[in-house]
Symmetry: C2
Subunit: 347 residues, 2 copies
């Protein structure tokens, strides 16, 4: 049976001390807005008034989706392994943005329908070669769903063991906005049409077809919205389960997770439904163009940092958000106080 990890509480007294320090720094109280909040969140999570996010990693989890047989994506499934190779060679957007952010990229095969050589650099967590077609049956078995979460947790433990103190989620999987919309619809209770977007770029007819395929998937599989593992098994994906596990694993060690866009948010929501105690360890990187993300973020009570009209995935939003998070910590750690700088405080 699947064993949920214990999630520690953030330190409220450290949060208070970080807030007090923010108010002593040479700036009007609260004038750095969300940067101040972020620094307090990280201080509390790390139980340290001097939080450290210097060792950042983006974990990009990849998987294939049987539902692509229904024509839900503008790209062929071959692109999943091709993009994994691109990640390994450093040519993808996530590589460029991670280099700029000073972050490592870690590529995980959760269920790509192709094999990678042993020395390729991919972390092998493959559950199976792609999911089943959710329009016709479950994506995976319950055991596979549990395994995908477990392996995701293990990746978090491994990265934290190597020193990571800030972890970002990233995804690659042609067709994966379809299971993510299905998860969003089931867990938020909203109609499918309200949580389904164009993914990598289907046209109007493609969008209408995608919506009815998701509706069919939910009808055929009848996922139990009170059982997140069932939802993952019936209408999810291997990389989505892996990312849910990554979030759980990181939070269980007190490490904050930067949740990327739509697919990552669906994964984070699955983890949140398993235990809402992970919430203080989440940072939403950005508002995705995919309309289904909003309601899921609201359910978790988190606000995205950026809104740049992005819809790429891979962890690209997270990699950009890294800079803001690093900035928040530098402000807390490096700024002069009114006293040290000899600046008069408010009258």
């Amino acid at each position: 049976m699947f064993q949920l990890p214990a999630i520690p509480l953030p330190d409220a007294s450290i949060a208070e001390k970080a807030r007090q320090r923010q108010n002593m720094l040479t700036k009007p109280t609260g004038s750095l807005g969300r940067l101040e909040e972020l620094s307090v969140q990280l201080a509390a999570a790390q139980h340290s008034i001097r939080p450290d996010v210097s060792r950042k990693v983006v974990v990009v989890m990849a998987g294939d989706h049987g539902v692509t047989r229904e024509g839900v994506s503008a790209y062929p499934s071959d692109v999943t392994p091709q993009m994994v190779h691109n990640f390994l060679q450093g040519g993808a957007a996530i590589n460029v943005l991670s280099r700029l952010a000073g972050a490592r990229v870690c590529v995980v095969d959760m269920g790509v329908a192709a094999d990678f050589p042993a020395n390729s650099g991919v972390i092998d967590c493959k559950i199976a070669r792609g999911t089943g077609n959710i329009a016709a049956g479950p994506a995976m078995s319950r055991l596979e769903a549990e395994q995908s979460i477990k392996r995701g947790m293990e990746v978090a433990f491994q990265e934290i063991g190597r020193g990571a103190n800030l972890i970002a989620t990233g995804d690659m999987g042609i067709g994966n906005t379809t299971p993510s919309s299905a998860i969003a619809a089931v867990l938020t209770g909203l109609p499918v049409a309200q949580v389904t977007g164009r993914g990598t770029g289907v046209d109007d007819a493609g969008l209408a077809a995608k919506i009815s395929i998701i509706e069919k998937a939910i009808q055929v599989n009848k996922p139990d919205k009170n059982d997140p593992i069932d939802v993952l098994a019936k209408v999810g994906g291997f990389e989505i389960g892996g990312l849910a596990g990554l979030v759980l694993g990181a939070a269980s060690r007190g490490v904050t997770v930067v949740v990327d866009g739509f697919i990552s948010t669906a994964a984070a929501l699955l983890a949140y439904e398993l235990t809402p105690k992970i919430q203080p360890y989440l940072i939403a990187a950005h508002k995705s163009v995919e309309i289904g993300q909003r309601a899921m973020l609201e359910k978790m009570g988190i606000e995205p940092l950026l809104d740049l009209g992005m819809r790429l995935g891979e962890g690209t939003g997270s990699a950009l958000a890294f800079h803001l998070i690093e900035a928040s910590v530098r402000i807390l750690n490096d700024m002069a106080t009114f006293e040290s700088a000899g600046v008069s405080d408010k009258e």
Copy 2:
């Protein structure tokens, strides 16, 4: 008489080539949203398909304001020179964020009511020791207004001469949201109450008093909204004039300017009213908490990149935006194409 510089046109054919290259990179078309647009804007501005923003500088211009005698700010005027010292010692928020962004900070005295030693590191462009009290008369003479713009332009030329290829505006001046709101009201035609916020943090009574002081300043001085120099002279500030000049100077050399928050936006709008040709060289860094910024950005047709609830000034929003701008250029310059990476394009 004041001589407006000629503003070159961005290169539309280079913009088109940059757009074409974005579409060849290994990502769905348009999926990086505003990052793609930024890279195209910079390519066109620099007349280069490989834009370069590696040499960034934040120009923080400081000045004092006679209107502080009316009690419009939560902080005493002494804080202006104290914060200038803080900038020079590297302890302010703008120093911390600029270090993180790999940017230089250049501190300019446009009109602080205190003197700095010759070797302090401040660039001396002082027009006078603080402006007049706009509630009782003009901020400065027309000649001083022209001089402040001219000196701001010279700072831009000097920084570009030293190699700067991306310039950000920053401000320091206790009381300077008051003239900025006055400028916003005059140039947008909106009622003062709709463009006036709490600055560094006045309370409800303070806000009401601030609004009536600005209304009085406009009534007493009768600035001519069709004459930006007159608006600057009557209800502006020396650092605001300097920043308007900085924007004009940079744009005249084809260098893009990252406009910070409320005060910087008022300065940019003055420059825009002098010549709207500067528009393609503007990037709005962030949405300020100050409500008057919105209408001014709309007048110039530019959208802020970030929205983090900030209201500090100094160029802090710009310093954060630098990362997004650098990211946009790296994407254009460093990503693999579908062809080079062997990734299948759309079906």
